[in-house]
């Protein structure tokens, strides 16, 4: 793809032809406030925060393609005034519970407000009396709090365009506009597939996971469910998996995960896990030491080599484990009777 060079606030920035001024600026290290743009989605230009000046005209940077020699100013007295009003209208009725909000410290609205600089006195005059809408807690993995919604539409576009599900869309008009399911019912009763892709992309705390523990480190892994092999990062805190994040660099899933991949890894922490070897004594399975169990297995297997023995290996185990299982069956037990559930 051809590259072009443009100037943003006097800084020469090279970008691929076809990209937008906003994405070129962000990639070049220049922040332009924005809420409704997301790199995975087509730009829509609804939040009006990324207004820039090009050739004396004010245009949304997210909807303006780059071109050779383009000169862009990210701020001017007029832009600052327009932006300030847009931000003030957005936050005048936004709940002020930042410290207890799951998006705290990672919130695009906080970033925008901080960049623009907000006068508390002016906010009070803009505030309208509105009833607090109850939070939709129907989904087992995440909540939807429409009071915190900034109507950027990223969730709507993610669900409709990217996932092809279309569980949510805009409803009502003007100040009453909300993101809603069909018939305004709870999410759990909609066609929502609980993939959580909207939660991942929500720039504020409107769509937020129920599990609030933040990981202290992340470990690269691969989802243990179906054969797609989605790359993911397991968020670990202490000795517990507390979060899962899709690996955007993995070619198999390009960052996407399904409901099982994103929210279904809790089985690892389950209290029902087997924790000790068990040996059947007098008809009952009773706890045993590894030495007891392994000696019993080794001794009994030794008596049943050849045609009397078979291994059922596991399509859930690693390559290395399957390699050892077949080597054991063939080399130690002298039979080729090993199979797994490939056919089921």
């Amino acid at each position: 793809m051809n590259e072009v060079t443009l100037t943003i606030d006097g800084l020469a920035i090279t970008a691929a032809e076809g990209t937008t001024v906003l994405r070129a600026a962000l990639a070049g290290g220049v922040y332009i406030p924005h809420l409704c743009d997301h790199p995975d989605l087509d730009p829509v230009g609804v939040c009006r925060l990324c207004m820039v000046e090009i050739g004396g005209r004010m245009v949304p940077a997210c909807r303006t393609p780059v071109s050779e020699g383009l000169t862009v100013a990210t701020g001017s007295p007029l832009i600052d005034a327009v932006r300030r009003t847009a931000v003030e209208l957005l936050i005048a009725n936004h709940p002020e519970d930042c410290l207890t909000c799951s998006q705290n410290d990672d919130c695009q609205l906080q970033r925008v407000a901080a960049y623009v600089g907000v006068d508390r006195g002016r906010l009070g005059r803009l505030r309208r009396t509105a009833e607090e809408v109850p939070v939709d807690r129907s989904n087992p993995f995440f909540n939807y709090d429409s009071n915190k919604c900034v109507l950027c539409g990223i969730c709507v576009r993610t669900c409709g365009q990217r996932q092809g599900v279309g569980a949510i869309d805009f409803a009502h008009r003007g100040f009453d506009t909300t993101v809603s399911t069909f018939g305004n019912g709870p999410l759990a009763e909609s066609v929502c597939e609980s993939c959580g892709e909207c939660v991942v992309r929500c720039p504020v705390g409107a769509l937020a996971p129920k599990a609030l523990e933040q990981p202290s480190r992340e470990v690269k892994s691969v989802c243990p469910y179906c054969g797609v092999g989605c790359g993911m990062y397991l968020g670990v805190r202490g000795n517990k998996i507390v979060s899962v994040r899709g690996d955007t660099e993995n070619p198999a899933n390009q960052g996407s995960l399904c409901v099982k991949g994103r929210f279904g890894q809790g089985f690892v922490n389950s209290p029902k896990r087997l924790t000790t070897p068990l040996v059947r004594k007098d008809g009952r399975l009773v706890e045993a030491t590894w030495d007891e169990a392994l000696d019993l297995v080794a001794e009994t297997f030794s008596r049943h080599t050849g045609d009397q023995f078979a291994t059922i290996a596991s399509a859930k185990c690693t390559n290395e484990e399957n390699y050892l299982a077949q080597k054991f069956t063939r080399a130690a037990m002298a039979t080729h009777s090993i199979d797994h559930c490939a056919r089921l």
């Binding site: 179906c226 797609v228 092999g229 998996i241 087997l274 299982a325 009777s337 199979d339």
Partner: protein, 541 residues
């Protein structure tokens, strides 16, 4: 897989997942992709957004139909007739890729002859798909390039599953859709490492890398590498193992991370077979329905508690890393298997860690020859990767096919009915399916409260016409009986199923669907026919 080996010389997904987005036509047959492989379904949807035509062939009106330009609703078990019918149209209308057939394929004439039996009257009658739809689909598939075929268990779990796969492969060869990006024949593997387990030779007829156990030179190679003598004849398959146990021939079974009591067709038979097995060792992370019957249960580490590699459906070998410690005394499977071998006095099981095991795998498995832990990095490597400087292979059969002749082989086929068809006593066909929220026998997913909240019980899907005729209502509990077993289950009245067909998953131990299904086997692949089983529905008073 046996079918693809016959046709192409290699039994794996020919192309890569990311390539699907750029296909011009996609035939999705026997795959409920949005449910069983949701992230691959995203690529299919993306292709449709970019202008591709999606053809869905499935007895059920699955979610993917919302994106399909064409929906072919074939009767369960009639896939060969449908695919051969499409091939017949392509040949008759001169739409075949003659240059590709001439240069890259063999046995075309015999195949062409076998098409004679598939005139559209017969195909329409057998499949229940109107002939103009078959013609339209055939034309679209033949003229939109590149065209990709996706399939899953809806193709393979039949008594003629191997024929189904070869019919799919024939169609791809006929239209020149092999060996190019965004084309090919793409079996979507169900388990995270089913591809790897096959690659590693956890199969009764091949060593790692599909090297046949019956070939003397292969046996000698492994005897030399492992320092032991090895048996000459092939072993038993999954279903045959339980048959042998039932008849008292197999006395000890080492069962790792599987739950055949729920997953195996004709599960009652498996239960009896296990009762007759003298010594059953189950190695798992949970006390499964099968582990309850074991003589010894060994607690294993979960994926997040160990290092190793998985090979995904597109042949990509990827690293997993240990994130947390195992609970209690649970141990990685590698450690457990090695310990048993060492206590039996067998040499060759004293590895320092998984990286060292991978080194041995690479030394004995040509397709993995260039794979080592330090090369796997962020993206992994797609086999074949024969040498340490090989970049891996995104799509197979580019210059030549993996078969010894280097050619893609057409296979003449005939239509064979399913082992069981509907009759007076068992008038409905039961086909198995899956839920988005659960996985296989749900050993893992039912331990996650949120997934259980979203889907907590089995629902037998039944067409409104059948429900009315039987006098059963949505939400009512019924008994479903086959020749092998019965279960009680709640009814979901929906036109997702056509009249005469009912479907259920096998995720729920309370409604064990596989006690009903048929373990009749495909004669080549030995896969049980869980997709077609005759049942009747009885009211529960």
């Amino acid at each position: 897989m046996a079918g693809l080996v016959t046709s192409f010389g290699s039994g794996a997904m020919t192309n890569s997942i990311a390539e699907i987005s750029d296909a011009s036509c996609i035939l999705a047959i026997g795959t409920n992709t949005t449910v069983a492989h949701p992230v691959i379904a995203l690529r299919v949807k993306e292709a449709v957004r970019r202008g591709a035509t999606l053809i869905v062939a499935n007895p059920k009106e699955i979610d993917l139909c919302r994106f399909a330009g064409m929906f072919l609703r074939q009767k369960p078990g009639s896939d060969v007739a449908l695919l051969m019918g499409m091939a017949r149209v392509i040949v008759d209308e001169g739409l075949a890729d003659e240059a590709f057939i001439e240069q890259r394929c063999e046995d075309f004439d015999a195949f062409k002859e076998s098409l004679e039996a598939f005139d559209l009257d017969f195909v329409e009658q057998t499949t229940g798909v109107p002939r103009d739809k078959i013609v339209e689909a055939a034309r679209c598939f033949a003229t939109s390039k590149p065209a990709a075929i996706l399939y899953a268990m809806g193709i393979t779990q039949h008594i003629h599953g191997t024929d189904n796969v070869m019919a799919v492969a024939n169609l791809a060869l006929l239209t020149g859709n092999v060996g190019k990006p965004s084309s090919g024949v793409n079996p979507l593997r169900g388990q995270n490492n089913v591809q790897g387990a096959c690659d590693m030779g956890a199969l009764p007829n091949v060593y790692p890398g599909y090297q046949k156990v019956i070939l003397p030179e292969v046996r000698e190679k492994f005897e030399k590498a492992w320092g032991c003598s090895l048996p000459e004849s092939v072993g038993l398959t999954h279903t045959e193992i339980f048959d042998a146990a039932y008849h008292g021939k197999i006395k000890a079974i080492y069962l790792i991370g599987e739950n055949p009591i729920l997953s195996e067709a004709n599960a009652n038979h498996v239960k009896e077979a296990i009762d007759k097995t003298e010594f059953l060792v189950v190695q798992d992370i949970f006390m499964t329905e099968t582990a309850e019957l074991a003589d010894v249960v060994l607690p294993a580490a979960a994926f997040a508690e160990k290092d190793g590699t998985f090979t995904n459906t597109e042949r990509r070998v990827q690293r997993i890393h240990k994130a947390v410690d195992s609970p209690g005394e649970a141990k990685p499977d590698c450690w457990i298997t090695s310990q048993i071998a060492q206590r039996m006095g067998v040499a060759g099981f004293d590895f320092a860690g998984p990286a060292e095991i991978m080194a041995e795998i690479a030394s004995l498995t040509p397709a993995y020859g260039g794979i080592s832990y330090d090369r796997l990095g962020n993206e992994g490597l797609q086999w074949p990767c024969p040498t340490p400087d090989h970049p891996g292979t995104p799509f197979l059969h580019g210059a030549k096919f993996a078969a010894p002749s280097g050619k893609g082989r057409f296979v003449p086929l005939e239509y064979k009915p399913s082992a069981e068809t509907a009759d007076e006593k068992y008038p409905l066909i039961l086909t198995t399916d899956r839920s988005l929220f659960h996985f296989h026998t749900a050993t893992m997913t039912r331990k996650v409260a949120g997934l259980e909240a979203l889907d907590d019980r089995e629902l037998l899907k039944i067409n409104p016409a059948d429900a009315t005729r039987l006098g059963v209502e949505h939400g009512q509990t019924v008994r479903v009986a086959s020749r092998r077993g019965k279960m009680t289950v709640e009814v979901d009245v929906t036109d997702v199923c056509p009249p005469g067909v009912v479907s259920a998953t096998f995720h729920f131990a309370e409604s064990p669907t596989n006690e009903l299904t048929n373990s009749a086997l495909d004669p080549v692949a030995k896969i049980p026919e869980t997709k077609v089983c005759a049942v009747r529905i009885e009211k529960v008073s």
